[in-house]
Each structure stands twice: as C-alpha cells, then as structure tokens.
C-alpha cells in the first residue's frame, strides 16, 4: 500500500499531520513556538520537546529512546535560533501497528527492535512541522532497509516480509536524509559487514531523494522527498482553490 498522509487534521493544534505506510499509522501534533518552562529554557534557541505515545499503553524506555532520537534529529532541521527562549512541542501518537507487530512474542527475530516504527514517526513529525509553519532548514525523509542473510537489500520492507523472512533478515537499518542528501540519522542493528551498510545507505538515499528528472511517470514509486512535496502541494492547492477558480 502506498504511503498516505493528511495535513492539519487537528484544528486546535498549531500544526498536525497523519501518516500511514506499511501498516503503521501515526498522528502528530506540533505546538509552537509557545512559552517554555524556566527549567527547559535555552537563552539562544528554541527548546524542542518530543513526546511519543505507543499504540497501546503508556510509553516506556523504548519510547524515551525514540523521543531522544527524534528530538536530536528535529533539533538539527528546525531553525531553532529563529525562536529563542520558546518551546516547540511535538507529540506523536502511534495509532495502528501492522498485525504482525501487535502480536507480542511471536518469535520473530526483530520483535524487540524499535527501528521499524522510526521512519513513520520521523515523517509524521516533518509533516506536522510543515503544517505548523515552523521554519526549517531542510525537510527530511526516512526509510527502513533490511538486509537478508543472503545479502539481498530490501528497501521499505513490510512487517509481513520481516516476519516471514525473520530467520533470514540479518540486519535492519533506518536512514534519514535531508534534501541536500546529507545523512541525518542512521540506526542499524543486527549482524552485517560495513560494505553492506554502505550499499544499504545508497539504496536508502535513492529511495529518499532520487533526482526528479526522468521520473515523471504516473504510478512510478515516488521517493520520500517527492512524497512530502506532493502532500504539501495538494494542501496548498486545495486552500488556494478560491483564488485559482476566479
């Protein structure tokens, strides 16, 4: 199923977005710049707070770790110096997981991994920031890559593929790239050679930000940055209808 996104579904938040891909759905809200508590205040830049809520239950150490990953990534892309002594609050709620992951203890090799949920969370956060019109230095797009024991590289595998091939998937990788093709985040786990990591990184780079030229075929799998652009274009187009119709 192709990824789907909706900008500004929530009306009370400054910005919000929903995103679903590969069975993961996330809703995100951004409030900011808002007043910051004295303790978290930074004199020269905006503080960024990320809250991740899991699909079921309350967050634990795993969510704290995801929060710190997302926080340090967003801190890099948000122009924090534009809003000193304020707070930008990002709340991400996982609304649905693929069936394979929601059944706990199914014996799949990567059931303990927190990596598959990271790309949807990052994408939702980026979309919500765009929706809130927070000044950004770049947008990011992220993807999951799996390497099988046979050395095959699979970009954006579905949860079913991970579970079915669980005996064979030897490593999982998440990469996030900026528009300028800078590697912003890389998280890998499993057992792999550095050469395999490099080729996985290349595959992910292509999936996230392939050059647009010669890609104007309908139904072509679009890359991450194009997807973001399309979502924002669609929203702007709808909002500007009154103007263009005249």
């Amino acid at each position: 199923m192709a990824p789907q996104a909706l900008l500004s579904p929530l009306h009370q938040a400054d910005g919000s977005a929903t995103y679903s891909a590969n069975g993961y759905s996330v809703i995100g809200a951004v409030n900011g710049p808002v007043e910051v508590s004295r303790r978290d205040e930074l004199p020269e830049e905006a503080a960024i707070e990320v809250n991740v809520r899991p699909a079921a239950g309350v967050g634990g150490p795993r969510e704290r770790h995801l929060e710190s990953l997302i926080q340090s990534t967003l801190r890099h892309i948000i122009l924090t110096r534009a809003h000193p002594r304020t707070l930008i609050q990002v709340t991400l709620q996982v609304t649905s997981l693929p069936e394979e992951e929601s059944s706990v203890g199914d014996g799949s090799g990567f059931s303990f991994s927190s990596l598959p949920v990271l790309p949807p969370l990052l994408t939702t956060a980026t979309l919500a920031l765009l929706s809130a019109s927070i000044p950004l230095s770049t947008t990011l797009s992220a993807t999951l890559v799996a390497i099988t024991a046979a050395g095959k590289i699979k970009c954006a595998p579905t949860a079913a593929e991970l579970v079915r091939a669980s005996a064979k998937v030897s490593s999982l990788h998440v990469f996030a790239f900026s528009v300028g093709r800078a590697l912003l985040l890389a998280e890998s786990e499993g057992d792999f050679e550095f050469g395999a990591w490099e080729s996985a990184c290349e595959v992910a780079e292509d999936a996230c930000c392939k050059s647009v030229e010669g890609m104007e075929v309908d139904g072509e799998v679009e890359n991450g940055q194009e997807f973001l652009r399309g979502v924002v274009e669609g929203k702007v187009g709808r909002e500007m209808r009154w103007r263009t119709a005249a």
Partner: protein, 350 residues
C-alpha cells in the same frame, strides 16, 4: 587607585565556563600550523581514554564488573533468578534437539530470549554522578534511553546462548515403556538475568562504558548448577561453587562512540558561511561530558572483531549531517583499532 590595569585575559576555567564553544574551538584550531590540535582534556582529537576493568567485586551477584574510563565509572551486577516453565503462559517453540552441543542457532536463541524477556537491563545514575543529574527524581530520559539501547544491544548481538539459561529435566526411563527409547527432555525453568548498571560517576561516553561493564560482568557470571527435583516439584540449586558454570558468550562486541563538534552551529546567523560549512567540523573520539554538551552529532559504532573477522553489530548516528558514508568509513576503522584495545584488557581478554 594605584593598582595595575585589570588584565584583559581570563583564566582558563573561566573562559571554558563563560563561552564553552569558542574555548573548544580555540583548542582544536591552534594558531600555528606546527602545533597539533588538542582537546581541553589534553587528548588528541582521535585519542581515547584508557579503560580499566575489575571483575567480581560484588559478592552478592552472580557476576559483576567495575569499568572505569577517565572520570566515568560504572558498576554492573548480574543476578540470575529462576523462571519456572509452568509460569510461562505461551512457551516458545523449542528446537527439537535440546542436547546437541554443536547446535548454535543464533536466530532462534534470540527470539527465545526476547519473547521471554530473559535479559533485563536497568541503568541507574547515582546521586551526584554528574551535575546535570538531579537526585531523587524518576529515571531521567538519559537513563531510560541508555537502558533501551543496552537492551536492544543484548538481544541483537545475540551475546547469550539460550542453552546456558535453560534448565532441562530428563525423566527417568519408565519401566512400562520400552527401554530403548530415550525419554523426552523438557525445559523446566529458565534463568532470567537481571543486569543492573549503576553509574558512580558520569563524565561522558555513557554507552561505551555501560556496555563494556555488561559484557565484562556477563563474562564473570557463574550460575549455580540447577536441576528439577521431581519429588519436591521444584528447582534445586547446588551450593558448591565448583558445580557452577559460566556463560559462554558469542563474540565480543564493543561500542565505540564519537562526537562531532561543529562550531558553525553555535556562531550567530550572520557568521555562518554555507560554502565551507563542511570543513569546519572535528570528530572527537570518546567525548567527555564537556565535549558532549557542545556536540550535537553523535556516532556510536558497535564492532565485533573476535575470530579475526570484523562484523558490525550496530551503527547509530544522529543529530547532524557531517558524518556521511566516507567519514563513517574512517570511523569504523578507528572503532576497529579501539576494539583491539578493549580486547587486550584484563576482564575482556579471551
């Protein structure tokens, strides 16, 4: 008013406290090209601190280790507790041949361990471990995040063998059935390992030290010999140390952390220069707390060079765009060298 004009230069530590980033920058970019850049702590950019390990210092644990790296010191204790198979609602599917010594199915082991959560790491920051840590508060984000990373490492590196943690019972051959058929073995209980990690003092690079402490403590762990007693319908353990057996770990994965110092981020907007932004960045090995506060981009590489062959176990990189594929290659090479240093230390030596 006969006093001399006040000096216009600061003492070193005041400079560091007032403007930490220019202080670090001044150290890393010396005035004359002949002097090598050095960090405020006296190390070269790619120099690591020398670790020391002391194992078996806690008497009430199955295994323990104290690891010290500069001013970061960590105690790790491993405690084994019994999990009765009768208390497991959905037992995992076991491999058919419980006994074979050669069988080394890492994948199935990992899923068996993780579905039962047999490894339970927990990290605590002691009161006064670092000035940033307030005593008496709930576990900080740092502690929780570290716990989560250590846990992910424990499972994804497949360090432990499920065989070592199973307690197997072989029923005596009953006389009614044929004597030839060996009786069915069953797993009566598991050892669950509680791995408690306590930071006595924290001066940067928490993950490397915590992970080294975990590995050293697990290598030091002796689990008492345990068996199922049919009459008591319970697990009995042998009090004798000579019966106890140690865990056999798979390989020796070691974490190596680097931080990227990029002063352009900290200068004001007008001073930023898009063109040579890339050049103005330093990669610092094994950052201390002062450097960690100034570096937004952090890279952690977990390598395992045991058996003469280098395998990557984990790569984490976040918070910036300086380290790409090319820089990462160099870092992995440095991680390799660092792995060799770790593997030569008492407590981790093969």
């Amino acid at each position: 008013m006969a006093t001399a004009a006040p000096s216009l230069s600061f003492p070193r530590d005041i400079f560091a406290a007032l403007s930490p980033s220019p202080f670090l920058l001044a150290h890393l970019s010396p005035d004359s090209p002949s002097t090598n850049p050095s960090r405020p702590n006296g190390r070269a950019p790619f120099e690591f601190r020398k670790p020391t390990i002391n194992t078996g210092s806690l008497s009430h644990c199955s295994g323990s280790a104290v690891v010290r790296l500069g001013d970061t010191a960590v105690v790790c204790g491993v405690r084994g507790e019994l999990l009765l198979a009768s208390n497991i609602p959905n037992p995992p599917v076991l491999p058919t041949n419980l006994n074979s010594d050669r069988e080394d199915d890492a994948e199935n082991d990992a899923s068996e361990l993780s579905s039962l959560s047999l490894l339970v790491p927990n990290i605590e920051l002691a009161n006064g471990a670092s000035p940033a840590h307030l005593p008496g508060s709930p576990p900080s984000t740092l502690a929780q995040s570290l716990t989560s990373r250590i846990r992910a490492l424990l499972y994804s590196t497949q360090l432990l063998r499920a065989r070592d943690l199973r307690i197997i019972y072989t029923p005596p051959p009953s006389e009614a059935s044929g004597d030839d058929e060996p009786s069915e073995k069953e797993v009566k209980a598991y050892w669950a390992l509680y791995i408690d990690i306590m930071f006595i003092s924290l001066d940067g690079n928490a993950l490397d030290v915590a992970w080294a402490a975990v590995v050293a403590a697990l290598r030091d762990t002796l689990l008492p010999s345990a068996w199922w007693d049919e009459d008591a319908q319970n697990i009995l353990c042998s009090p004798s140390v000579s019966d106890a057996r140690s865990l056999r770990l798979r390989g020796l994965p070691m974490a190596v952390t680097f931080a990227v110092f990029k002063p352009t981020e900290l200068l004001s907007e007008g001073e930023q220069d898009e063109e040579n932004e890339e050049e103005k960045a330093w990669v610092l090995s094994d950052p201390d707390a002062f450097e960690e506060g100034l570096c937004k981009e952090v890279v952690t590489v977990v390598v395992d060079g045991s058996g003469g062959k280098r395998r990557m176990r984990r790569i984490e990189k976040r918070g910036g765009g300086v380290v790409g594929r090319e820089v990462m290659k160099g870092l992995v090479r440095r991680a390799d060298e660092r792995w060799r240093e770790w593997s030569q230390i008492d407590g981790l030596k093969a």
